[in-house]
């Protein structure tokens, strides 16, 4: 009889029967196939009436789920499309459209061992909380030093990838939150090394700049449902107002900026280097490893940018903005940790960066949720999907110009606050490179135009 079992992220098949899936592995002397073909192998064996013994699954025990989830009409529609797509596929919904609830509803219907894969540790906490609230069970967690496998388990992409050998045969259903991450060369192995026949991807931003999202259909199925912000705004999401405040540098700052930038520009001109894309820039960084002067030019540029980012004038404008929105919950974003701490020290605002201890981060977010803290200043950690309920003001102190980041940041402010419109204010230095960055950003969709119109 054909015997089938799980071996470190792959399936081994031993027996005299050939199947279209096995590849002969001379190292161990039997057929081997990717774990993702588990469902297909079984279907083939059943259809061909081939007797087999299946030792693949090692599932954690089931628990009774008590679902309290009531889906909105578009969420129901999304779920039913997914079920019609053989319980595989991607749902594209804007941030705050309640993707979490659709996935949890799917788990409660399937009543099976489920793994939820998320990009950050914060999201592990958030999903665990939702599982507790909506399904009445405690979820396990893998990642950030925890390793606790339960019927419903939440893991980071990193841990799911690194521990595929151990976890690959423990779940029948996988939910990929922020599924665009899955397309990266290493993370895509998660999809390949897990047996789970049922798969769901969730994202607000399906497309990747590197086009690798084209690999996703093979791994988890096609897009089965897609709706964008415009279709939902007004009805389910609160619209926001975007505003840009230009700030000039102080004379001494401007002088320092010009000097340093000149060093950089002169070097580029002299060497006829043109930096247009991110790739050009990467190539330039590579040169700085070998070329002394290139490195000096780069350092000069960094100093100039630092002046622009940390401009005193900008901090004054920030103070005014904070005064103006005193009563509202506010998030301040900046990419630079130094600036986060400078702002935190100056205004005595709690800060969250990658360096913030996990406990403290949890406490700060909790207090913010309760309203004990009104403002948080943060670098990138809150970027994706983390719930910061009813924050109604966002202040951007700097940025990189990436489209996805922009949408996600806006999304964070899209929580419904009793009929109130959210406000997003970007504070940019006048006459510096930064203007270029944020102009590039604004050109992409969901930018200022659509929201100015909403004003």
């Amino acid at each position: 009889m054909l015997r089938l079992w799980f071996d470190k992220g792959t399936l081994l098949l031993r027996g005299k029967v050939g199947t279209p899936y096995g590849k002969w592995d001379p190292r161990v002397g039997c057929y081997r196939t990717k774990a993702m073909y588990y469902r297909a192998v079984l279907a083939y064996l059943e259809e061909s009436s081939i007797p087999y013994r299946d030792d693949v699954q090692k599932l954690p025990p089931l628990k009774t789920l008590r679902s309290t989830i009531k889906l909105r009409p578009y969420q129901k529609e999304a779920l039913s499309r997914w079920r019609h797509g053989c319980m595989r596929g991607v749902l594209v919904l804007p941030t705050a459209a309640g993707k979490t609830y659709i996935a949890l509803k799917a788990i409660s219907l399937l009543k099976t061992q489920s793994l939820i894969v998320v990009p950050t540790l914060d999201l592990i906490d958030q999903w665990k909380r939702r599982v507790r609230e909506c399904l009445g069970v405690e979820a396990g967690a893998v990642g950030g030093g925890e390793h606790n496998v339960r019927m419903i388990t939440v893991s980071t992409y990193d841990s799911a990838y690194l521990q595929a050998e151990l976890l690959g045969n423990k779940f029948m259903f996988i939910v990929f939150d922020e599924v665009h991450h899955l397309a990266s060369p290493s993370y895509m192995q998660i999809a390949e090394m897990y047996i789970a026949p049922y798969r769901m991807g969730l994202t607000a931003t399906y497309e990747r700049l590197d086009e690798r999202h084209e690999l996703l259909p093979r791994l988890i199925g096609d897009i089965v449902y897609s709706v964008d912000v415009e279709e939902l705004t007004g009805e389910h999401l609160s619209p926001y107002i975007y505003e840009k405040v230009l700030v000039g540098l102080a004379p001494d700052e401007q002088q320092m900026y010009d000097e340093q930038m000149a060093i950089f520009k002169n070097y580029l001109q002299e060497k006829r280097i043109i930096l247009k894309s991110a790739k050009d820039f990467q190539r330039f960084i590579m040169i700085t490893g070998r070329d002394r002067r290139a490195r000096e030019a780069l350092l000069a540029r960094n100093r100039a940018l630092k002046v622009a980012l940390n401009s005193e004038q900008k901090l004054d404008v920030l103070a005014k903005q904070l005064e103006a929105h005193k009563k509202e919950k506010t998030l301040i974003f900046t990419l630079h940790n130094d600036l986060v701490y400078a702002i935190s020290r100056r205004f005595l605002i709690p800060a969250i960066t990658y360096q913030t201890p996990k406990e403290e981060r949890r406490e700060i977010l909790g207090n913010f949720r309760k309203g004990d803290y009104k403002v948080i200043v943060t670098s990138q950690v809150l970027d994706e999907g983390i719930d910061v309920p009813d924050a109604s003001v966002g202040l951007i102190m700097s940025g990189t110009g990436s489209t996805r980041e922009y949408i996600q940041r806006l999304g964070r402010l899209l929580r419904r606050v009793e009929g109130k419109r959210a406000r997003l204010v970007e504070i940019v230095s006048k006459e510096t490179v930064e203007v270029g960055i944020s102009r590039r950003r604004g050109q992409k969709k969901t930018g200022e135009e659509s929201n100015r119109a909403a004003k």
């Binding site: 470190k8 992220g9 792959t10 190292r27 990717k34 103070a319 935190s344 100056r346 201890p357």
Partner: protein, 520 residues
Amino acid sequence: MLPSNLLAVWKRKGVIQPRYAKLSKANLEVANSLIEAYNRHLGEKKKVLKEFIVELEDSGQDYHFVRGLSFLLDRRSMFSCNENVNPVDLRRKIFRLTGKLGLATTPEQRKRIIENVAAELKIPVEMLEENLYSDLESELILEKFEPLSPQALLERYNLSMTQTLLFGATEMDFTASANWQKIFFVIKRLGLIYDAYKDGGFWVKIDGPASLFKLTRRYGTAMAKLLPVIVANSKWRVEAKILWKYTNEICDFKIESWKHQQLLGSHQPAISFDSVVEEDFATRFQALEAGWRLRREPEPVLAGKRVIIPDFSFEREGVRLYMEIVGFWTTEYLLRKIEKLKNLDVRMLVAVNENLACERLSNLGKNTQLNILYYRKRIPLAPIIRYLQEAFREVYSKQTDFLKELPVTLTEPFVEFEEFAARIGVSAEAARAALTEKTPDNYKLLANGLIRKEKLEQIRKRIDEQTGRSGRLPLSEVAKIIEKEGIDVTSVIEAIGYKIIWHGINIEKAEVLRLKNKTS
């Protein structure tokens, strides 16, 4: 291992190498100045130390190199936070207060909040300001640093770079001179798959389960972890395919002990014994001088797809036997071992500790014609010697039997026993016995081989001519004539009716003298 952005490489025509730091005077100086900097900055903030390092980078040093070294030194350091004030508590108090009183958007408001909290904690305002973020990485204090020599630092740097390069490996082949037990133990623990083969020496190719379907860097980290165990040997060679992620090309990477050992450092522990039992056995056996060469952890034995790594091998004249020492065991374990050995064309003695049995011995039944030797405290020598001799005799007689069957047809003018034995794969003694018994008529038996009679006659004639009537000739002259034929002098001299006369120990002065009664 270093972060991949600190890995510096040379890449040309599909070959890749880390840019190893030579143990040159200049590099040793950089290493030394860094080590001293860490020593000097004990008790200071990390950011002060890092400023020094940035200065070093900016003063013309390769920043990959400087940062790489500093990364390794960080790992030998302990940075800690001032323990008098808990910054997390401090912040909580301040943020709660700002939550109540409003943000510090003016200097007055800020001062009010800070003073308030300082008063509550009964600490000076300056201390509060100082400690507000004293748990940040850059604010931590260098408390301990475990120094090392500049040379050791460079060696570690080179080893770390090699490991970092291997992160991108899709497969790796290697050979090593010893340490196999440990190597295979690590391979298994890391979840790698091995494929052992012979190519000059004993080689092992490793990759992982999913490597079957496509090239993957997934197992690179595991290969990097294996590397230190391999290069801890006196001789080794490692070859790997690196998938270079920046250009997506496959590059060859090779290192070998004679070239690279110096760069990576020689962390060679003396032959280590797993247990006192083994060490004790080896010492006593060698003292016996029983004519067997004992080797600790010999080259592994290929058993089909599997590999067996015996603890000892005994060698004598091309006959080789193995011994494995078993500590804790169960019947099932022993039976599995026996099964593994059964179809194998090697002789293995298994020494089993009776005291460490997890089940009763009787459970094993009579299943074991395999050579199991029970011991309690020390491994007894007598039964082993007996076993070895029996086995030797058996192998030996098998070989002589084999030779008896073998029709001996010789064509060469001179046949040496040892060379003949090696050619057909038997022991020299067996070859000697067989050829002595079955010397073909046209050959004459010598001490170390057979010589064709015509050849012998030819040699004698030539020497007779040279010696003339005196019957004497310097040995060196004779040697010239005989060794031209590729034959050892001393064994032939007597066969042609001469003997060597020694005048002292100086071989130059020795002569050969024709005997009166010619024997042939």
